[in-house]
Amino acid sequence: MDAADATRTTAWTAEEEFTIAQAETCRQALLERLSACQEGEPFGTLDLGAVKRIDTAAVQVILALRRTLANGGQALRVHPASAAVHDALGLYGLVGLLGEAA
């Protein structure tokens, strides 16, 4: 599997509600997914297309994931992202997270 394909692999898909209530579950799911990734294997993208509600706790989970990936030399890609996600990240000046699939 080459890198270009990997970016199109969906690592994890968020549901409609992506808030503090789901944050811990999501974190666990993402950690599982991370540990499933072998050394050097690309993580894939985050699918936030279905998200209707997102809050700061969820944004923090994304940021923490980005940090973890960055420490492993990978970039986080969010694709697709719903209007709600665009709105929240836009307010926070974090549109950089929405790396339109490179």
Partner: protein, 698 residues
């Protein structure tokens, strides 16, 4: 600690929570009603949000999941409203008010292990409606804010001010239900966000992340014609959970203000000690802020009502004992003794006033709920009514505030139902389509007066009289001569209702008589003023407290009688006509041209012996006018504690209670309302007395 103790502590804490939550509900409702009229009132919106939020937080402590879940929905909707993501509609207001009622139900079921099926069902359906309302409109706040910025024409003269807002979130903010995202979104509605930098340096790796702890800080550039206070206010709820610095860009460092909860103090300290390192201030401020908040909390302590009552009883006894000591001192003819008892007497009076003050609460609490009543009732009746409240800060005894609530409710409903006309009728009568209902409270000579007035059609004299005659309350030939005040009082007779159309609000003919008996039970009076076509005012006059009376002491034969001082209008020498032989105990006399009924108390109470010396007539104000009471001697002002009469004597006509004089003698407190009723009844039986009376004045 045994589990029994734990249960008791929990029960006590729950009771506190319940009473607090009741206050919060009242605030919530009041705020909603303000918002309904002024949708852009940010303070009211904040207040509603804060109330819901606090309730949710406290509810969580007691494991009321149903309450927490439901309040959460309410809070989310309010949050969206506040952020401008959705616009207020009648629909939303209706649902919010219903939610308030539902919260009340949930609170009342706090003691049950789980919500009743009924409450749970309402929770479900209302919750769904709350969610539906939120989903209907997507977030448009930011878009509109940007649109505003794109159109410089809308920018106010002088240009917008540039602000830099640094927001360092505390770890618990998210757990406390405070999402900085909402605040930033709300800020965007006040102006333009020219740049938001989110500091992610504290974000750890995923494996170390506490998913519910907030680790972000924000540096926000904001442009808008807002002042410092307005911006700080945006983050009002967050003050406990963040460090906030708001500064205007381009101003000198000296003008930079450090903002914390106890702003004034902190700023002063910051200016007095500029050398204090920033880090130092950060850590110190938190403590100081905590201290300030603790100080806030300690301004109120909760005291059990029975302890307070016991204290007031005791002080009542002290008042009596002190009067007794004073009398003994006078009899002993010891100037020094008299002086020291006088000093004690003064102190006892101050202690009494202080103790009674403990029970005093502003009447506004009782008024506030009428906003909702007026709103609901006027909608139901298709009327448009504006409620005005004045004097809400007027204080009265807490127990009386509670007892007055029902009578007031009746008067308000009566005004809404029978007083204020429909918009069509009002326009036809040449009035503004919106009716006005006013609640007004004020202190007046040792009493509290509460007025309910409307600008409706007023009372209908002819219809009231026709009804009274048909019910045998008034003799047909006496009707025409009855003064207006006496006619208005007729509506308080049992079984009296003049409404042509019986509605489910009022007009059942029960109520107004209950209102009067409730008010009289508190030694109060109701007076009515009315002008046809212009409106009516119902005035309740109540003593400030039930326990102690400022009395006017008189005597007949050897028996002492006390009248409430605040109703005494004047004392005159007995007019000659009072000495003429009359049938029964009452007659009329001429008071500077007015015909005033009087009662010879000696005859009424059938006291033995004959009056000797100069007798006096005490003229008192009553609901319908004035009344003279013929007594032997006047002793002047007398302050005393009221003792209820033993059950055996409670049926005594004209006597409301008793009291003990300093000498140990018993004095009887006169029930003026009952005496007046007796005088009026006597006169309607003898109409000729009234008709011949004016000749006396001529």
């Amino acid at each position: 600690m045994t589990s029994q103790d734990e249960l008791e502590i929990l029960a006590a804490a729950r009771a506190v929570f319940q009473s607090e939550a009741t206050e919060l509900l009242a605030q919530f409702e009041a705020a909603l009603l303000v918002i309904e009229r002024q949708p852009d009132d940010a303070e009211a919106m904040n207040c509603a949000f804060r109330a819901a939020h606090t309730m949710k937080g406290s509810g969580g402590l007691f494991g009321c999941d149903a309450l927490v879940a439901f309040t959460h929905e309410v809070e989310s909707l309010l949050d969206d409203l506040r952020a401008g993501a959705i616009a207020l509609s009648d629909d939303i207001m209706g649902v919010l008010l219903q939610s308030r009622d539902q919260l009340e139900v949930l609170l009342s079921e706090l003691d049950l292990p789980q919500a009743s099926p009924q409450a749970a069902a309402t929770n479900e359906s209302l919750g769904a409606r709350l969610r539906a309302l939120r989903d209907r409109a997507p977030s448009v706040a930011l878009a509109s804010a940007r649109a505003d910025a794109a159109a410089p024409a809308s920018a106010p003269a002088g240009g917008p001010r540039e602000w830099r807002i640094q927001l360092k979130m505390g770890a618990d903010a998210l757990r406390n239900g405070l999402d900085p995202l909402s605040f930033v979104r709300y800020l965007a509605t006040l102006g333009t966000l020219t740049g938001v930098t989110t500091d992610t340096s504290r974000v750890p790796e995923l494996v170390e992340l506490d998913a519910e702890a907030c680790v972000l800080s924000f540096d926000i550039r904001f442009s808008g014609d807002r002042d410092h206070a307005e911006i700080v206010q945006v983050f009002d709820f967050l003050v406990d959970d963040c460090e906030l610095v708001v500064e205007e860009v381009g101003t000198s460092v000296a003008a930079t203000e450090v903002v914390e909860a106890a702003a004034v103090e902190v700023v002063e300290i910051a200016q007095a000690a500029p050398a204090v390192a920033a880090a130092d201030m950060r850590s110190g401020d938190g403590d100081r802020r905590q201290a300030a908040r603790r100080g806030d909390d300690q301004r109120f302590i909760r005291v059990r009502a029975d302890k307070l009552d016991a204290l007031i009883d005791l002080i009542g006894e002290l008042v009596i004992a002190s009067s007794g000591a004073q009398m003994v001192a006078q009899q002993e003819h010891s100037a020094r003794f008299v002086e020291s008892t006088a000093r004690i007497h003064d102190l006892v009076q101050s202690a009494r006033d202080g103790a009674l003050g403990l029970r005093m609460v502003p009447i506004g609490e009782s008024f506030a709920r009428f906003h909702r009543v007026v709103r609901d009732v006027s909608k139901q009746l298709g009327k448009d009514v504006d409620l005005q409240i004045t004097g809400a800060e007027t204080e009265m005894d807490k127990s009386m505030v509670e007892s007055i609530a029902d009578p007031l409710m009746h008067l308000v409903r009566n005004s809404l139902d029978h007083g204020i006309e429909t918009p069509a009728e009002r326009i036809a009568a040449g009035k503004a389509p919106t009716g006005r209902l006013a609640l007004h409270a004020y202190h007046e000579s040792g009493a509290i007066a509460i007025e309910v007035s409307d600008d409706g059609k007023g009372l209908d004299r002819e219809r009231i009289l026709a009804k009274a005659v048909s019910r045998g309350l008034v003799a047909p030939d006496a009707a025409a001569a009855l003064p207006d005040e006496a006619v208005w009082q007729l509506i308080f007779e049992a079984g009296f209702s003049t409404a042509d159309q019986v509605t489910n609000l009022s007009g059942r003919g029960v109520g107004m008589d209950v209102v009067r008996s409730n008010v009289q039970a508190m030694r109060g009076q109701i007076r009515i003023a009315s002008m046809a076509g212009r409106g009516a005012t119902m005035q309740l006059r109540l003593p400030l407290t039930l326990a102690i009376i400022d009395g006017f002491l008189t005597s007949i034969g050897g028996v002492h009688y006390v009248l409430p001082l605040d109703i005494v209008a004047e004392c005159i020498e007995m007019p000659a006509e009072c000495d003429e032989p009359i049938a029964g105990a009452s007659g009329t006399f001429d008071l500077r041209g007015d015909v005033v009924p009087f009662i010879d108390l000696r005859r009424l109470f059938r006291l033995a012996g004959k009056a000797s010396g100069r007798r006096s007539l005490v003229v008192v104000r009553t609901g319908a006018g004035q009344l003279g009471l013929l007594v032997d001697r006047l002793h002047g002002e007398y302050q005393t504690v009221i003792k209820p009469l033993n059950a055996i004597f409670q049926q005594l006509p004209g006597i409301a209670g008793s009291t003990i004089l300093g000498s140990g003698e018993v004095a009887l407190i006169l029930d003026v309302a009952a005496l007046e009723g007796q005088a009026l009844a006597d006169q309607s039986r003898r109409p000729t007395a009234l008709q011949s009376a004016p000749a006396l004045g001529a």
